[in-house]
Symmetry: D2
Subunit: 149 residues, 4 copies
């Protein structure tokens, strides 16, 4: 039992955890679907939604920020499990590379470091229908101190 809180989670378990704790994460942009999670990575799809669109049909910067941020969070939960629910974003650098076409976006997060106190990750964002990058992010999360316990 003792080790259980540190146990990693798969895509289904993380989805259930998010729905239980942060159901409002889908508000204000397209719905976020966890496609895969594990091995220090996560892939998340953000469904197209008119609320995240900008004139000309492109996806808004805040929506891409949200996708990047959420993808990293999922990658952390996949390794650390429920004990990392309180992980908090401390910094995010985003580079916007091309204007995405209207439609679903996919974020692919990869943990570059998972330390005792900090996790650092990069995220590649592309349109669901294409492989060309539309944005790239690097992000740092502060991990809950419980983890050091």
């Amino acid at each position: 039992m003792h080790d259980r809180v540190r146990q990693g989670l798969d895509a289904g378990a993380i989805t259930a955890l998010i729905e239980a704790h942060f159901p409002q994460v889908h508000e204000g942009s397209g719905r976020l679907e966890i496609l895969s999670a594990g091995d220090r990575k996560a892939t998340v799809r953000m469904l197209a939604d008119e609320r995240m669109m900008r004139p000309g049909g492109t996806v808004s910067g805040p929506a891409m920020f949200k996708l990047a941020d959420f993808s990293v969070y999922v990658a952390i939960l996949a390794v650390l499990g429920e004990s990392a629910l309180q992980a908090v974003t401390t910094s995010m650098t985003m580079n916007f590379l091309t204007r995405p076409k209207p439609g679903d976006l996919v974020g692919e997060a990869r943990l570059l470091k998972l330390g005792r106190r900090l996790a650092v990750a990069e995220v590649a964002i592309h349109s669901a229908a294409e492989t060309e990058l539309v944005a790239h992010a690097t992000s740092t999360y502060v991990l809950p101190s419980a983890r050091a316990g």
Copy 2:
């Protein structure tokens, strides 16, 4: 007439321009009010709205991203006028410093550089009721090539 497109704009004129071209900017977060604009600076208030709240009453990261991004855009419009409407964010680095309390947020943008092709700015974000920073951002916009004409 010729010089008019390069003429700077004040808060009221920018508000009218945004409402005409990007009325959807207020979607998905709290309404954005331009408090002041000019002298390479801009101050914008984001009204509290449940859609931008996270559990525990804190404001979401994407909402703060949006406030930072919009504040810089306003500071650019204040200098370059309508000809800069097509300016595009190319990068954004955000540091999240403390969890904001529920309530309105204020973004204060300042242009660090306004070149022919790029504008670089920093933004301080604080709760409307306090002076302590809750987030800090630096951002780069690519300016429309028309400007170089």
Copy 3:
């Protein structure tokens, strides 16, 4: 006596501490002189040196990185004192705004946050002879865990 290690330091005391522990900091670029330190700020001058010059007489990016990084370190030491000697840079974002002219550079660091585990700062860099910015940086340091003790 017990509180002494947490006591802040002034420019002279920090200079002595650096010379005792990191005399090699001046290698590879111009000599670094602490002009002032305190009140969560620090001002550092980097003396012109041919090793930090690039063709055309401009100062190299790594030299500006070093000046920014050192300025933040000094601002942290000014608050936390010797106990923060083991603080470590975890991230740095630099924006290069204009090519500096040959000559001394000045870095002005300001702590945006000084938490239990992380310090976040911004740094403005300008030529000693001018006020226009040549570069701007934001940086995060991980503070030694001793501080939490």
Copy 4:
């Protein structure tokens, strides 16, 4: 002949170009050796040198900045050729992940975007003897306007 200035270059040609135009790039840190260049990528080795060492044998932040910056420059030259010699770094975000052990470092740059005006790249830095990352960078270069000609 006309197209020649836009022609890409391999590692040997870039090395010769650097030695002719920027021989001082090796000053102040370990010597930089271009291991490979092409296909929008570059791999550069920075030889261990006491000038880039910090107490405890770790490599300094400015030296890693230099390696990252140079690796991206090589990746750009590999695509655009000599016409890109005047490309200038406009921003750099570095995340320092673990303290590198003493010894050579390797930077692996990859262009995320190569536009008409801007190039965006990421760089992974690891010790020559290991695969674990010691640092990660994203960087933006402004390309010489000649390129748009």
